[in-house]
Symmetry: C2
Subunit: 283 residues, 2 copies
Amino acid sequence: MKTGIIGLGLIGGSMAIDLRRRGFAEEVIGVEAEPVNASAALKIGLVDRIVSQEECVKESDIIVLAVPVGTASRLLPEVLDAISRSESGKTVIDVCSTKEQLVNVVRNHPARRRYVATHPMAGTEYSGPWAAMPGLFDGHACIICDPEDSDPQAVELIEELYNVLNMRTIEMPAVSHDVHTAYVSHISHITSFALALTVLDKEKDEKHIFDLASGGFSSTVRLAKSSPDMWTPILSQNRENVLHVMDTYIEKMNAFREAIAEGDEEKVRSLIEEANRIRRIIR
Amino acid sequence: MKTGIIGLGLIGGSMAIDLRRRGFAEEVIGVEAEPVNASAALKIGLVDRIVSQEECVKESDIIVLAVPVGTASRLLPEVLDAISRSESGKTVIDVCSTKEQLVNVVRNHPARRRYVATHPMAGTEYSGPWAAMPGLFDGHACIICDPEDSDPQAVELIEELYNVLNMRTIEMPAVSHDVHTAYVSHISHITSFALALTVLDKEKDEKHIFDLASGGFSSTVRLAKSSPDMWTPILSQNRENVLHVMDTYIEKMNAFREAIAEGDEEKVRSLIEEANRIRRIIR
């Protein structure tokens, strides 16, 4: 299976590594807009060749769009156009964190059924080809959105691809996907960004305050290193859901603030005890 | 050196393990108010004997108060009272996350100079004797507050104790300590608690939404498992600093909300880029 990956960052690069190492792709070709990244991806050995988008679509059986979701919204119709003009049998996927707007962009495209909307839920706070690593996807979930809008053979092939990446696939409407990711991913990033901004403000006055930063702080704030290229369009495309979750979050924060301000230890304790039930959800 | 530890939870228990394994304490005796925990601490082998507080103070060269800060405020004067009545040469430390109120409680105590206020900045989100582990403190910082209010020999001895635990000690006024910990520790816990409450609210309606929770979410929310017994008094004792940091945090959160609500992608991008500078502080 010849695989073309458009966007050789953390996700595209990590896919390239394991799809080839595990024998799913006999050749991986890549498209990368940023010359420094393209050159690095080639030198690191993520891909066999760097090609143009046109060549990539022409030569590949599977085309993976691994670019920020704003860019994906622009490229997906182009790639489907190119596929319409070529022989059939090619399959296109994206790997973006928001889905509703993306599937709407190509809802009536004649080649829509060759496209499978997917979201492999794995990653780190790092980006670019240097961040790519083997095993990134192992053991995580991958959401496949609106599979009924894709050809069954295309869905089957992509399930096989994610099977090779050791992911369990879950089917879900694009609309539900975006609600779910607002809760299990997007809000976590926003709380980390806000925490980073808070402590950086303080650091302006007291240079050495964070010599003390320990493990708990680091783990809470590490997502704040995440790339603006990736996250700006996500927060934009998933605006309504994200705002809804943020409003609940700000409400909870204010409840805490009020209980602390009033010295209401019983209330603080009961909020913490309630929060402790997060053990239902994470280990 | 005979060491007595009052409170055999995560911190007290972990100290017991390494102080003995590394030869600093030839015997470790413990006081534990909760019978189940006391019995566990003995069975696990954290301590050689469980004794009363009175016996502990009487028999030990070093007494470690490893209880929640509210309890420490009550016990510290009692322990110093007992020391005043006994032969000199005993040293008392606490290991709490807030310091200003605690040092104020014993500011004029006749045995004040035998007390060293310390905060070993290490821990996990787990609690109780079962959470104790070897190596917990290795490589972390330990703050020693107001060392000029303690006997130099007492400070020296405690520095040796933390040296055995592989911690680097930093001296700081209690007042500054509380400001710093509000930024590098307390606010992280509150943001995690609020995040947990937010997602748990949603889980009431959609039972399976969090099958998807991935690594980023887990690391952001894991501090929400922290013990209410420990955290209620911390947030109470450090109220003013914590409220100040929360206000900045809520301000940053609202700035994000406004930028997203207005679809101002440039503003969202610039907030994320600013937040990315957290790389100055954490690796």
